[in-house]
Assembly symmetry: C2
Homo-oligomer: 320 residues x 2
Amino acid sequence: MRELNYVPNALAQSLKGRSTRTLGLVVGDVSNPFFTLLARGLEDAATAAGYSVILCNSDDDPKKERAYLEILARRRVDGLVLTPSQTDPQPVLDWARQSGPVCLVDRPVAGLDFHAAGIDVVRGESLHAAEKLVEHLISHGHKRVAIINGPPTLSTAVDRLNGYRRALTVAGLKVDKRLEREGHFSVESGRETTLELLTKKPTPTAIFATNNQLALGAMLAARHRGLRIPDDLALVTFEDIPHVADVWPFISVAAQAAASMGQEAGRFILERIERQSAQNAQQKGGGKAEALHGRELVLDTELRLRRSCGCTPVAGGLFQ
Amino acid sequence: MRELNYVPNALAQSLKGRSTRTLGLVVGDVSNPFFTLLARGLEDAATAAGYSVILCNSDDDPKKERAYLEILARRRVDGLVLTPSQTDPQPVLDWARQSGPVCLVDRPVAGLDFHAAGIDVVRGESLHAAEKLVEHLISHGHKRVAIINGPPTLSTAVDRLNGYRRALTVAGLKVDKRLEREGHFSVESGRETTLELLTKKPTPTAIFATNNQLALGAMLAARHRGLRIPDDLALVTFEDIPHVADVWPFISVAAQAAASMGQEAGRFILERIERQSAQNAQQKGGGKAEALHGRELVLDTELRLRRSCGCTPVAGGLFQ
DNA sequence: ATGAAAGCGCTAACAA
DNA sequence: TTGTTAGCGCTTTCAT
């Protein structure tokens, strides 16, 4: 009989009590391949467990982020995976307390005691990788290395800045605020800040762009000014662009395992969801739900030295 | 009083009757920047109207597609935006009849009378653009131009193949099946088919890759074989990779307005949703719901001739 | 085994 | 205006 059209109403099923079998994912920007891969990783983990993912773009704007958190809470998603865009831990804390398990990806929230709050964190190592990247530039003889960065409200931006400064200090170079720029993690921001850096003194001979979008913007600016990379201006960055980098082995980069981040986040959050529903099932066992502390998984960041830092290409060029 | 924690349950609201204010989007692969942009365009249109988007990857696999259509139907999304992965029009037809408005993006379904079925289509022009691309290769003196293509079940693949053949025919060249390869719209498929083409006779002097992933794969293969582009092997493709192409103005391409496609699809589908709910509201007016016929919007495809086809670069190179 | 009923959290229609 | 109630489509419990 149901052969003749019957589609169960998941809304009613969910309302009844169970769960929505849906995860919410809020990232800064899906146009950034880094987040795309992360999303893909999470989706794969989710579908394998019979869950769907609702994907939202916050544009790293706390307002938009807040709006999406609200929407996802109303929708009663079973869990939230978030790249937080603000320093205020309260929204995340509230969500975790009221609406369900939370996993932070790519970056933690500065003032948040995720361990006590039972919030997991999956991120890539930033500080050390940034230090190595800049250290490498210095080893090429650069004395005036600039940094173009994202907003200081994001921990990745802070970590990468600290790594940058540490590399300078260790090498006996002075930290010069005139060579430090912050903005958004966007192409446009990278273009603007680089353009500005190039018109003021001291003029940098190398730039550390803290994400791939910023690096793209820096290249746009260099091109606009007629500078060639790496001879007129060296460049290193974070976040590899997959495949593109394979055929265009040019940019030296600290590569993060984006897809793994998504998958691991999925693992964490699904585990918490299962655990929670299991506890609900046998609620009789008087013992207070023993809260699972927040865990932190820090994935390795791999340095890939290519041409933009001044190193010679490994193989003969594909293009002429 | 509600200051102290109250989050309305959207499930219950939706169940009650209204709508879910959610759109379903099924694309081949979010890792492809083309679909990423499309998704972003749709999301922007959707959020502006107070809708959210559930994003799903079909991997151009009819099975996965079917599974997602089912999930989205159960979830009672208000509308579906789909890049169809099969030739069978039935699933789409069923969805449109039972579950709500449908808009096809990027490609129609071959055997589907979308006009009669009230299904909108937003796509880029493929046939003519493909013809021009190949015509351009021929104007560079190429006589053995190969095509590496997606599966023949996708109309974009068919259109691009036909454009390719037409260009050859018009130029008085013979269509040679040994130079035609099909597979998936993936990097791996592009690599494999190119590798195979390069080991057999007749050896192509130019390749038309019908999407950006295939082109990436072709470059991987060329690199593997030690061939340089464009001198040893010329290359043209479809779908630009934004920003990357700006700083690396290399690949000659027929560029599709991906974000616009998403936005226009959003416009179409939201219009239908509004229209439908308006009709439901004043159902008294005895007149049968005058079905709105399916519309087709074909967006222009822009030829961007750069270096990989053999044309000289416009400006001096950014890199050395 | 099959069937009836309560209730998930809302909204809309109706009553006071 | 404010208050009450029926019911959206399911699942789960309890009675037959």
